[in-house]
């Protein structure tokens, strides 16, 4: 009985670790651009069809660049 309890305890103590591992974004590697890097320039179209480039703001403003997953979702 003692043995059974011990093995049960062992099994359950491993559960949280494996569960956490399963939830990790295993297929998403670390971002290429990190703090301290120069942000690569881009030119993209906004919702009104205007072209917007990162270099438009160089020397003028900071840029808060917010990547989001999909339109029509929260955040």
């Amino acid at each position: 009985m003692k043995r059974l309890l011990l093995s049960l305890l062992l099994v359950t103590s491993f559960l949280p670790a494996s569960y956490a591992a399963d939830n990790k974004p295993e297929e998403t590697p670390a971002p290429k651009i990190k703090v301290g890097d120069m942000a690569p320039d881009f030119t993209l179209q906004d919702q009104n069809g205007n072209k917007v480039s990162l270099h438009d703001f160089k020397g003028k403003k900071n840029v808060a660049l917010a990547f989001y997953i999909f339109a029509f979702t929260g955040g």
């Binding site: 974004p25 297929e27 998403t28 590697p29 670390a30 971002p31 290429k32 651009i33 990190k34 703090v35 301290g36 890097d37 120069m38 942000a39 690569p40 320039d41 881009f42 993209l44 179209q45 906004d46 919702q47 009104n48 069809g49 205007n50 917007v52 990162l54 270099h55 703001f57 160089k58 020397g59 003028k60 403003k61 900071n62 840029v63 808060a64 660049l65 917010a66 990547f67 989001y68 997953i69 999909f70 339109a71 029509f72 929260g74 955040g75």
Partner: protein
């Protein structure tokens, strides 16, 4: 993006331009911007070239990860928040305000 819109006045006061980016089409972004009242640019990275250049492409969703960058006036990244950390923009707002004060 709603959270950035709510903080837009603070960010603009701290010399910061907000740009949203996703792999949605421009028309999807247009409809969404109208629906939720976003007044800053939502940029369409159709095809994902920019998303991939930044290393933010998530193959599982075939979309960008949720990431906030704060880029200074010289083009250097000074703040980054990933995934769930990137929902609340208050860290970005604080960093902008600190810079405005001449940290």
């Amino acid at each position: 993006m709603q959270a950035f819109q709510q903080n837009l006045a603070k960010l603009e006061a701290a010399d910061t331009q907000v740009l949203g980016v996703s792999m949605d089409s421009r028309f999807s972004n247009q409809a969404w911007a109208e629906k939720i009242g976003v007044s800053f640019p939502l940029l369409s990275d159709w095809g994902g070239d920019v998303t991939k250049e930044y290393g933010l492409y998530n193959p599982k969703y075939k979309a960008a990860r949720r990431v906030n960058y704060l880029i200074d006036k010289n083009g250097k990244v000074i703040e980054m928040q990933l995934d769930s950390e990137a929902i609340d923009p208050s860290k970005v707002v604080q960093a902008c305000e600190a810079r405005k004060l001449g940290r």
